[in-house]
Amino acid sequence: MSGAVASWLLAAPVALPLGAGLIVPLLRRGRSLAALAAGAGVVAAALLLLAVRDPDGAMELAVGGWSPPLGIRWRADLLAITFLLSTAVIALTVALFAALHLPRAEPALAGRLWAPLLFLWSALNALYLSADVFNLYVTLELLTLAAVMLVTLEGERQALDGAMRYLLVALAGSTVYLLGVALLYHATGTLDLTLAAGAVPGAALALMTVGLMAKGALFPLHGWLPPAHAAAPAPGSALLSAVVVKSAFYILLRLWLEAAPDEHAGRMLLAACGTGAVLWGSLLALTQKRLKLLVAYSTVAQLGYLLLVFPLAVGSWSGPAYAGAVWLAVSHGLAKAAMFLAAGTVMHALGHDRIAELRGLAHHAPVTMLTLALAGVTLMGLPPSGGFVAKWLLLSAAFGTGQWFWALVLLAGGLLAAVYTFRVIGAGFGEAALARVPRRAPQWLAFALATAALLAGVVAELPLRQLQEAAP
């Protein structure tokens, strides 16, 4: 296919939401339609990218014709496309949910949501496509700004407080990351990860990693996440928990597996942090009294899983472990979005989200309960969910590389997830009236996401094969 079309395809995922984000605030009505249209366009572009990608070698685009190192280069390899596509699916569904849910639940927000949401989306896509560390820095900053805006939407004290906390930690994190970039540049004279591969100095790697951990709320730098995610409106928290935090992981993946392939001790340390995240996050999820906080802490825990990939992706097992981790990220994204949307419905239906008082949901909002349950299945990593096949691959790698202790973490994490999920499910049973009976359509959207997370286990064979082949 011709280069022009390719470059359009590459530009669309960034340009469409960005443009829409700029236009929407100016519109008087039909905002949601415009936003959804742009979203649909992104989905289409992502699908096309997947369709036309050639298995060996990635599609590239030098933005504005400038070539690296001065110019910006976008690159769409399988990893990027996978994240693009999953983000697109999630974001579009979330947008639909927002369009259907907010006008009734929180009319005040209905209009103000779109701009930050679309900027967020655009920044995310740019991040996925960026190939050099400085672009990544910029996109990360934009992403952070958009995310913080989403958090502030509710506008009351907790929201603003959480947002500010988020902003400051992110700021510190990005500064540290930028220092790492500087060191990398001085050491290698390049900013391109592929070009710098193998030559990344330890200090730079350390700084960039920690900076990213701060931005991605990776244990023990996760403290800002729960208040921020819990304070945002349902669609916002869905996007934040499902995709935004994973952007940091996405960069770590490229950084450690592509640019710094043989830093085993460091990978162990990352996995150690992951272990901490799994245990600590689950434990706190267990102790939460509010549903949204519980879900947020479960995000902290689930991000820990992802870090386990680093020591596992070695030798002949790098393929399976890599594929498993990516697939875990995807299916967790779907599930987590579903959970937060469901939490939104709960909020709307009960006027609160205190776990102890969820009675009656099973009767009056069965779809939402089912959504929480199915999403929970993915978090627990049980069949037939995508979480299961991902876990299967990671476990295989753990035993295959003789690192059974990471296997213990994976298994324990699943159990803890079961405990806190069923804490919620169990609370929903029993007869009680709801404050408001929620609308059906938004519930079905959340349900669709949860089902997608479940189906991600059934249709996994082909994508997993391709990911294994594309593994660095």
Binding site: L160, L168, V176, L183, Y185
Partner: protein, 102 residues
């Protein structure tokens, strides 16, 4: 820009500024301090970036980075200031909840 040498001192100063600023960002209770400190920290990094041991021709990339970086950090700081203002008017005090007590 002339190809003057940017000595290591710059970089070291940049480091110091960064560390000091970050310290302030984390420890100073007042949010304005925090924001300014964040901005300073970024500037510290820029100093590090511009470090060019051997004179030679100026490095356009480094300059591009710094310029972009400055834009970004200004944006962030500006947004932070706006947020601070809103927080201040809703809660009445320019501090974060639960931090810095005791």
């Amino acid at each position: 820009m002339s190809g003057a040498e940017v000595p290591l001192a710059y970089a070291l100063v940049g480091m110091v500024v960064l560390v000091r600023a970050l310290y302030a960002l984390f420890v100073r209770p007042h949010l304005l301090h925090k924001l300014v400190a964040g901005n300073l920290a970024a500037s510290g990094v820029f100093l590090v970036i511009t470090y060019a041991p051997d004179g030679g021709p100026p490095d356009p990339v480094a300059q591009a980075l710094v310029l972009t970086g400055i834009v970004v950090s200004v944006a962030v700081t500006a947004y932070g200031a706006a947020l601070l203002a809103r927080l201040n008017e809703t809660s009445g005090k320019p501090y974060l909840e639960h931090d810095h007590e005791a």
